[in-house]
C-alpha cells in the first residue's frame, strides 16, 4: 500500500520587493521559500492513515523543482515520510500547472500508488489545478477541496467530504485509486522539529530527470504550457473615488467622469 503526496515549495514575498528586469517574475532575492501550507495538511493526512493502519503503508512525497526544493522535502521526511522524490531538468523551467500535472502523472505511473494526495492549491500561484490535471493525465477519479476523509488502506472505495461554497459540504464516495486535493483544516499538521529536519538530512532524496520519466523536452517547460507569463507588474492603486451628494448630483458627476475617460472633455 502506497500513498503518493505531491508537494510544492512555494515562494512568499517580503514586504518590499522588486520585479525582475525581464518583468516576468519577482526578483529571487526577495523571495522566501517554504513548503506550501496545503501540503502540510495532505502530508499529515497520509501520515495519519499510515499511523492508524495495521498493514504497511508507504508514504512517498514528490515535488517538481530545482535544488532548493530539497529543503521542503527534508521537512516532509522529518515529519515521517518514507521516501522523497525530486523531479527536475532545466527544460522544465516555465512549466504551468497543467504541465506539472503531466510530469507528476509520469511519476505516478512509475510508483503505482494506491492513492494520491495534493494540496487544493499553492499559496503563490493559486491555480488550484495541478492535482486535477494530474488525475486527468492518469485518467483517475478525483475529488477536489477535500475536508474530510474516511479511507482504509487497501480498500477500493473512500468516502470524502468536500467543502462547497456557503458553508455547505458534500459527501462523495469515490473509487480508488484516486487523486484527492486536500483542504486546510482537515487535520492538525505536526511540527517538524529542527533536529528532526537535521536528522532527515541523512535520508536520501531520489532525483529523477526528464529522461527517467520517458518524457521529452517538448512535453514540458514554457513551450508545452498552455499558459505563459507575459508580464508581471503591480497594478496601480487609488483608482476608486467615492461620489457624494444627492442621486442627481452623483449621476452628474459620474457622467462627467465617463466623459473625461472618453476624452470628450
Amino acid at each position: 500500500m502506497k500513498i503518493l503526496v505531491a508537494v510544492k515549495e512555494v515562494a512568499s514575498l517580503d514586504d518590499d520587493f522588486e520585479i525582475r528586469d525581464d518583468h516576468l517574475d519577482v526578483d529571487e532575492d526577495f523571495l522566501l521559500y517554504d513548503l506550501n501550507e496545503w501540503d502540510d495538511y495532505s502530508l499529515e493526512e497520509a501520515m495519519n492513515i499510515k499511523e492508524a493502519s495495521d498493514s504497511d503503508v508507504e508514504v512517498v512525497v514528490v515535488s517538481v523543482g530545482p535544488d532548493r526544493v530539497e529543503e521542503s522535502l527534508r521537512k516532509c521526511l522529518a515529519k515521517g515520510a518514507d521516501r522523497a522524490i525530486r523531479v527536475w531538468s532545466d527544460e522544465m523551467e516555465g512549466s504551468d500547472s497543467i504541465t506539472i500535472g503531466r510530469v507528476l502523472a509520469a511519476v505516478a505511473e512509475q510508483e503505482k500508488p494506491d492513492m494520491i494526495f495534493a494540496g487544493v492549491q499553492s499559496s503563490d500561484d493559486a491555480n488550484a489545478s495541478t492535482g486535477i490535471s494530474l488525475s486527468s493525465y492518469l485518467n483517475w477519479p478525483h475529488a477536489a477541496v477535500v475536508a474530510g476523509l474516511e479511507y482504509t488502506p487497501g480498500s477500493n472505495k473512500a468516502v470524502v467530504t468536500r467543502e462547497l461554497e456557503g458553508g455547505m459540504a458534500q459527501e462523495v464516495e469515490i473509487s480508488c485509486p484516486a487523486v484527492l486535493t486536500i483542504q486546510l483544516g482537515i487535520n492538525t499538521p505536526r511540527y517538524a522539529s529542527l533536529r528532526g529536519i537535521k536528522q532527515a538530512a541523512a535520508k536520501p532524496i531520489e532525483e529523477i530527470s526528464l529522461s527517467d520519466l520517458g518524457l521529452s523536452a517538448e512535453d514540458v517547460g514554457a513551450y508545452a504550457s498552455f499558459a505563459r507569463v507575459r508580464r508581471m507588474y503591480i497594478p496601480e492603486k487609488g483608482m476608486a473615488t467615492m461620489i457624494d451628494g444627492t442621486p442627481a448630483e452623483q449621476a452628474a458627476k459620474l457622467a462627467e467622469i465617463i466623459k473625461e475617460y472618453r476624452g470628450e472633455l
Binding site: L32, Y191, S193, L194, R195, G196, I197
Partner: protein, 710 residues
C-alpha cells in the same frame, strides 16, 4: 578535674546477657534494613542517565558543609522555620555524635584495646551537652507542629493546582500523615529518652556517683525530682526504667531502619543534592550530544541520576510552590508538584527489582503520577523555584528536558508551532521580514556603524522586541542616542542579527536553538569588536551563559552596567534630577539569572528618584509571565495574568509615579497589564532608558529634541 572511673553510665546495667543479645540482634536487623533501603535507593538513582556533576568534588563538598552549618538556604524567606530546623538539625547531630561516642568506647576501644574515656569530667560535660541537644530538638519539633497545625501556611497545603479535587492524587493526604508520624515519632523518642534518664537517676539515687552529679543532666534531674516528689521510689523507677528502655530502644531503632523509606531520608538526599548543586542550573541548559538520537525526557529513566536524586531531596517545604508565578495565578503548575509527581513515579517504577517495560516508564500523559502537558507548558522558566529551593532541587532543567520531548512530538499550541516555524524562516519571532530588523535606525538623525563592515568597540545586539516592537523602538532609539552622546564607538549586525535563541531554548526547541546560536556565533566571529551590549536580558543570558558551549566566547554586558559606568566616568552628564516616586521590577533574566540587581538601582538613585521597593524584589522578583516562550502563547482569558498580579503589587505603593522596567518584554507585558488592571492615569510604565534620556545632557540639540519627542 574529676577522673573518677565510677562517674559514668553503665550500659545495660542490670540486664541479663540474653537481653543484651536480643538488643544486639534487634539493632543489627535495624541496620540491615537500613542498608537494604539505601541499596534500593542507590539502585534507583543508578537507573538514571549519567550526569557530569562529579567534578570539583572537594569544592562542592565544602560548599555543602557550609550551607548546612549556616542553614543559609533554609532561613531564607522563613526565619522561624530555619531556626526551628537548625535546633532539630544540630540537636540531632549532637545526639548522633553522642551515641557514636558511646559505641566507640563500648564496642571498639574498650573490647579491643581496653581503653576507656567515657567517665569523669568528659562524661559529665557529655551529659549536659546531650541534654541541651535533646531539649533543642523537642523545641524545634514543637514549633514545627505548631506551624503545621495552627499557622495554616498555604505553602504547606499539599493540594495540587494541576489536579481536580476528584482526582485520587489531588490532596496527597498520605504526605500529611507521614509528616505528623515523623514529628510525633521524633518527639516520643526524645521524651522517652528524658524519662529514661530520670527513672535511672531515681533507681540509682542511693549511689552518690550518680545522684550527686545528677544536675549535669538537668532535664533528667528535673523530671526525676518531680517523679520522686510524686512518690516514686527506686524500685518502682527500676521497673519503669526497664519497660521504658525497651520501648525507647525499639522506636529509636525502628526510626533508623525506616530512614531510607521515609521522608527522613532527606538527611542524606538533601545533603547530596546540595553537594551536586549546579550554580548554572537553568541559566545554562544541558546540550544534546551530537550523536544522541532521542531528545528530551520521555521516560523516567531519561532523567539523570542527579535529577532522580533531586526528586528525593525535596522536603515539600513549598517555597517553590509559593514563589511560582504560574501557580500564583492558578495555572495548572506547581514546581513542587512536578517534582513530587516524578518522585512518586520513580518510586513506583524504579524501586522494583526488575525495570518495568518502557511503556510503563512514560512520564507524559494524563494518568495518575504522570505529568500533564498543560503543566509543562505553564512554566515561564523564571527560575524562582530553583532560586529558593533550600535543598538545591533544579526544577527548570527537568521541565525544559520534558518540554523538549513535547516539542519533538509536536505536542504544543498551534500558535507556538507557527512562531517556531517563523523564527526558523525569518530569524525573528515577530513574523517580520529579515530585512526590516534595522528599520528603526532610519528614523535616527545619524547612522550607526555596520559592524559587519568595519571594526567597532562595542557590538550592540539588539534582540527581537527591541528591534521590531513599535513601543520598544522608541526606547531602542533613545539608547542609540545615549551611546552616541557618550562617544561610544558602537555598531550593529543589521539584517544579519537573528533571534538570540534564549526563549526558543527554554521552549524546548533545541534544534532551532542550535541553529540560531551557531548562526549568530559565526556572524559575530566574523566581526571585529571588544564587547557586546544589549538592552535585552534574554539575549544577554544566552549569549553570556550558553553561547560558550557552542564555541562563542564573548564579553557581554547588559545596558544597565554600561550606562552606570558611563555616568560614573562622566561620559554621560545629568542636567536634571527627577522628583518621582518609582519602583523597579527586576527582570528574571537580568536579576535571578545573572544577579544584575544593583546597577539599575544605582542608576535610579543617580537620577534622584525615590525608589520604593515592592515586597517581592531582587531574587524574589515576580515574573511578568513572558518567559519560557509564554510570550508567544496567549494566557487563558478570565484568569489573572502574572503581569497583572505584579502590577497590583506596584499599585499598592502610595503616590507611585513610574513603574520602571529594564527589559523589552517587560515593557510590552506591563504596558498591557497597566491598562487591563486599571492603572491608567495612576502611574506610568517606563523603560529605565527613557528616564535616563530625560536627564542626560545632549550636545546635539536636534538629538535632544528628538529624544523628547520620542
Amino acid at each position: 578535674m574529676n577522673e573518677a572511673q565510677e562517674i559514668t553510665r553503665i550500659l545495660f546495667q542490670g540486664f541479663q546477657t540474653s537481653s543484651i543479645y536480643l538488643f544486639y540482634a534487634f539493632g543489627y536487623s535495624a541496620i540491615a534494613v537500613f542498608l537494604y533501603g539505601c541499596y534500593v535507593q542507590v539502585r534507583k538513582y543508578r537507573r538514571g542517565q549519567p550526569d557530569s556533576a562529579w567534578g570539583e568534588f572537594l569544592a562542592r563538598f565544602g560548599d555543602m558543609v557550609k550551607t548546612m552549618l549556616t542553614h543559609r538556604t533554609i532561613k531564607r524567606r522563613d526565619k522561624a522555620a530555619g531556626k526551628a530546623h537548625a535546633a532539630i538539625f544540630f540537636g540531632f547531630v549532637l545526639l548522633f555524635l553522642g551515641t557514636a561516642t558511646i559505641t566507640l568506647e563500648y564496642d571498639i576501644t574498650e573490647p579491643l584495646f581496653g581503653f576507656k574515656f567515657w567517665y569523669g569530667d568528659f562524661y559529665l560535660w557529655f551529659s549536659l551537652v546531650l541534654d541541651i541537644a535533646g531539649t533543642a530538638v523537642i523545641a524545634g519539633v514543637l514549633y514545627m507542629m505548631y506551624r503545621r497545625k495552627w499557622l495554616k501556611l498555604p505553602k504547606l497545603d499539599y493540594k495540587r493546582p494541576d489536579r481536580e479535587p476528584t482526582d485520587p492524587d489531588y490532596d496527597r493526604s498520605e504526605y500529611r500523615r507521614e509528616d505528623w508520624a515523623f514529628l510525633w515519632g521524633f518527639i516520643i523518642i526524645l521524651i522517652t529518652g528524658f524519662l529514661l534518664e530520670a527513672s535511672r537517676l531515681i533507681w540509682l539515687m542511693n549511689d552518690p556517683t550518680v545522684w550527686d552529679y545528677r544536675w549535669w543532666s538537668p532535664v533528667g534531674a528535673l523530671i526525676a525530682n518531680v517523679l520522686h516528689g510524686l512518690g516514686i521510689g527506686p524500685e518502682a523507677a527500676g521497673h519503669f526504667r526497664t519497660g521504658l528502655w525497651w520501648f525507647h530502644g525499639f522506636i529509636a531503632l525502628t526510626f533508623v531502619a525506616l530512614i531510607p523509606f521515609t521522608k527522613v531520608k532527606h538527611i542524606f538526599t538533601a545533603s547530596a543534592s546540595l553537594m551536586f548543586r549546579d550554580p548554572m542550573a537553568g541559566r545554562r541548559l544541558p546540550m544534546v550530544p551530537e550523536d544522541q538520537e532521542e531528545i528530551g525526557v520521555k521516560t523516567i529513566t531519561d532523567l539523570t541520576w542527579k535529577n532522580l536524586l533531586n526528586l528525593d531531596a525535596c522536603t515539600k517545604c513549598g517555597r517553590c510552590h509559593e514563589a511560582c508565578p504560574a501557580n500564583a495565578v492558578g495555572a495548572p503548575l506547581s514546581p513542587r508538584d512536578v517534582i513530587l509527581s516524578l518522585r512518586e513515579f520513580a518510586n513506583n517504577t524504579l524501586q522494583k527489582k526488575e525495570l518495568p517495560d518502557e511503556a510503563e516508564l512514560d512520564v507524559h500523559g494524563k494518568d495518575i503520577g504522570q505529568v500533564f502537558m498543560e503543566t509543562l507548558w505553564s512554566c515561564r522558566t523564571c527560575l524562582a523555584c530553583v532560586e529558593i529551593c533550600p535543598v538545591a532541587v533544579e526544577h527548570v532543567p527537568i521541565i525544559v528536558q520534558m518540554r523538549r520531548k513535547l516539542v519533538d512530538e509536536g505536542n504544543m499550541e498551534p500558535i507556538l508551532q507557527k512562531t517556531l516555524q517563523s523564527v526558523h524562516k525569518n530569524g525573528n519571532s515577530m513574523g517580520e521580514s529579515k530585512r526590516k530588523r534595522a528599520k528603526w535606525t532610519k528614523d535616527l538623525p545619524f547612522t550607526i556603524k555596520d559592524a559587519r563592515k568595519e571594526p567597532v568597540d562595542v557590538m550592540w545586539f539588539v534582540g527581537d522586541y527591541a528591534s521590531f516592537d513599535p513601543r520598544n523602538q522608541v526606547v531602542t532609539k533613545s539608547f542609540a542616542k545615549l551611546m552616541r552622546q557618550a562617544g561610544v564607538d558602537f555598531g550593529l549586525l543589521y539584517e544579519a542579527e537573528m533571534n538570540a535563541g534564549n526563549d526558543i531554548r527554554r521552549v524546548g526547541e533545541e534544534g532551532l536553538y542550535e541553529f540560531l546560536a551557531t548562526s549568530n556565533i559565526s556572524t559575530l566571529e566574523k566581526c571585529d569588536f571588544q564587547s557586546i551590549v544589549t538592552t535585552d536580558p534574554h539575549s544577554f543570558n544566552t549569549i553570556r551563559n550558553e553561547y560558550p558551549d557552542f564555541g562563542g566566547e564573548f564579553e557581554i554586558n547588559h545596558y544597565t552596567t554600561v550606562i552606570k559606568q558611563l555616568l560614573e566616568q562622566g561620559k554621560l552628564k545629568l542636567n536634571k534630577q527627577l522628583d518621582l516616586t518609582v519602583t523597579f521590577h527586576d527582570p528574571c533574566h537580568l536579576g535571578r539569572y545573572n544577579k544584575g540587581y544593583d546597577a539599575p538601582r544605582d542608576i535610579i538613585k543617580m537620577l534622584g528618584c525615590d525608589l520604593v521597593e515592592m515586597a517581592r524584589n531582587r531574587d524574589n522578583s515576580f515574573c511578568c509571565g513572558a518567559g519560557g516562550g509564554r510570550i508567544w502563547i496567549p494566557d487563558p482569558v478570565g484568569i489573572q495574568k502574572p503581569s497583572e498580579n505584579r502590577i497590583h503589587e506596584a499599585g499598592e505603593i502610595e503616590d507611585l509615579d513610574v513603574f520602571i522596567v529594564s527589559c523589552p518584554k517587560d515593557l510590552t507585558m506591563f504596558e498591557d497589564a497597566r491598562k487591563t488592571a486599571g492603572y491608567e492615569g495612576k502611574f506610568e510604565v517606563k523603560e529605565l532608558i527613557e528616564l535616563i534620556t530625560e536627564c542626560v545632557e545632549f550636545d546635539d540639540e536636534s538629538v535632544d529634541e528628538d529624544a523628547d519627542a520620542a
